[in-house]
Symmetry: C2
Subunit: 343 residues, 2 copies
DNA sequence: TACATTTGGCGAAACGGTTAGCTGGAAGAC
DNA sequence: GTCTTCCAGCTAACCGTTTCGCCAAATGTA
């Protein structure tokens, strides 16, 4: 591979001049410019990004760390992030922490070594302690995506999880359901806890007390939700409706329903939160609250680029988006007999 | 950020010694090693990959370019590739060419600029002409994934597409179906063409001639398949079974079936090719031929690492994997009346 | 003509590592 | 006691850029 020195020698100029031509960073006389361009053409020179990055300290790399890459929700996030990165002339490095704290640590160290210019992080765990890099030296601009920590010292982009839980639950309540069950996400995550609390608020506001054995704490995984769903649905007084904390869990629930010979929405209504792609062909369509993922990703990039290019040390911003209820066919009004049985 | 020089100063040794400790590349006395490690700990030093890469010429980056990142099949591929990269101590840079040739060109140029050590490429288009970088200077080790070109000058990892089409079609034939329709992939892609030809071979072997208007050339996209499916199914003599060329197309077909008030598999059987994740909750489960994606990705990495570390100039290898038929519930034996109507 | 000012182009110092090759003191051979 | 041998650890060159500071030529001014 030709280097800038080769070009300089061929063109009979200094390397500084070649650099000036390549980057348009200083005036170069037409004659020299012509010779430099000719030499570049002849030698098929391309500046080495590696070397360029070394002294700029920038890498044109944005890292995204998701908590579960096999979750279609995060696949979608990555897809949108790739598009955003490309639009801003960055490349996207993808990492999967797989909900493991040590993996996340390894990844963050790797990201630092790669000198990524920014990080979009869906953090594992309830505190950001293991991520702190405050000890001197500026840390890499980071946006916490979806999940946050109590101490809001980082930029964050999230949705209003309580609102999501409330909206979905209210929809079920409006259909007359009173025996509403739920498979929650992990309650140590703001996503899991927020959605659960939103649901409880909605129930309480209507004076409905849920049955303990209709509510199970799960994980954001299909098989776990499937198992929980079976436990709940195999009870004699199974709920007439379920709220599940995310998309893949809803799939697990639907699978359980099918395997138990039940029908959705005839026997049981389902509402969930978050969007998953590629199941548009599925019937019944899920009634769910959707995240505006696209805007969330764009906002994340805006924050990151702001810190990278403009103002690295402005105080943290926390942007919260509102989820939107999208009605599918997975919910039906409660059967009359059960309505009368309600308190 | 602490540099190797800071560490050397703090530990009271030379930078060469620090480097030796960090890389275990030379013997260092226990005493000095201890001091160096202490200094590293104290300063929280991490070697800069950027600087390290500059003189090694390597970047510890593997790029993956897929043709459609919104397709769950490729999301799955990316997920597995991320795991493989992490296992081999590489980071994965993800690109989406979105089936556009110019986008792919831009991406390949970007990959070269980033000095990625290897590329896994799902190429767009029928020839690799726009990718050739043969003009002097070694090109980046590249594995063509899934799709290939006629002139096998690159390493490739693919499946036997004809076998996939044949297996799926034979399964439908075995169930008694004779009026078999199909939505093919783009026929200029080896994946689309191969699967289609496999289907035709299977039909011909049993003396079945498909009806022209039961076969449509589509794209590997849900909406396109949906539209094609409606066209085919709204005809009076609609087929009793369909073979579709990939997973998202199968979803489009199922959506069309549902929207037309038909039932799968009662009214129409479906068989498809390729695996898509995250729809395990869907009923009926698709009968399909699955790719061994995991092994395919691992094989790709083995090839890449072979070229990177060992033998950059060995002759191209073309590894073909066999798809495997996985029976779901989307196919039923043809109704007796129709069986007798068959030739 | 003499001097001040501008500016195109150059040399050299970073950036943060790796590594070839040198140095000097200790140990072993005679 | 002197000469080798050995090797831990150091010095310095190098990877391919960008960029600061400088020089000399060109231009402007009196």
């Amino acid at each position: 591979m030709a280097t800038i020195r080769d070009v300089a020698k061929t063109a009979g100029v200094s390397i500084a001049t070649v650099s000036a031509v390549v980057n348009d960073s200083a005036y170069v006389s037409p004659e020299l410019r012509r010779r430099v361009l000719a030499a570049i053409e002849e030698l098929n020179y391309e500046p080495s990004t590696l070397a360029r990055n070394l002294n700029s300290g920038k890498s044109q790399l944005i890292a995204i760390v998701v908590a579960d890459l096999s979750n279609p929700f995060y696949s979608h996030v990555v897809c949108l992030a790739e598009a955003a990165a490309a639009a801003w002339d960055y490349s996207l490095v993808v990492f999967n922490s797989d909900e493991k704290t040590e993996a996340e640590k390894r990844i963050m160290s790797r990201i630092r070594m790669l000198s990524c210019d920014g990080v979009i992080l869906v953090p594992v765990g309830e505190t950001g302690q293991h991520l702190q890099r405050d000890h001197e030296g500026k840390s890499i601009p980071t946006v916490l995506f979806g999940r946050v920590f109590e101490d809001r010292r980082s930029d964050t982009v999230t949705i209003d999880n309580e609102s999501a839980g409330r909206q979905a639950t209210n929809y079920l309540l409006d259909l007359g359901h009173r025996r509403i069950g739920s498979i929650t996400g992990p309650l140590h995550l703001t996503t899991g806890r927020g959605r659960h609390e939103g649901m409880m608020q909605a129930l309480q506001a209507r004076g409905v007390t849920p049955l303990q054995h209709h509510i199970r704490q799960g994980e954001f995984r299909e098989e776990v939700a499937y198992a929980m769903a079976r436990e709940i649905l195999e009870q004699p007084d199974r709920p007439t409706a379920m709220y599940v904390a995310n998309g893949v869990m809803a799939l697990g629930l639907m699978r359980a329903i099918a395997d138990l010979g039940l029908k959705c929405p005839d026997d049981i209504s389902i509402a969930s939160t978050d969007t998953i792609n590629g199941i548009s062909g599925m019937r019944p369509r899920l009634t769910r609250t959707e995240h505006p993922i696209n805007e969330m990703i764009n906002e994340s990039f805006r924050m990151l680029l702001g810190r990278i290019n403009t103002n690295p040390s402005q105080s943290p911003r926390n942007v919260v988006f509102q989820p939107k209820l999208v009605v599918g066919e997975s919910c039906a009004p409660v059967a009359p007999a059960l309505v009368t049985a309600a308190p």
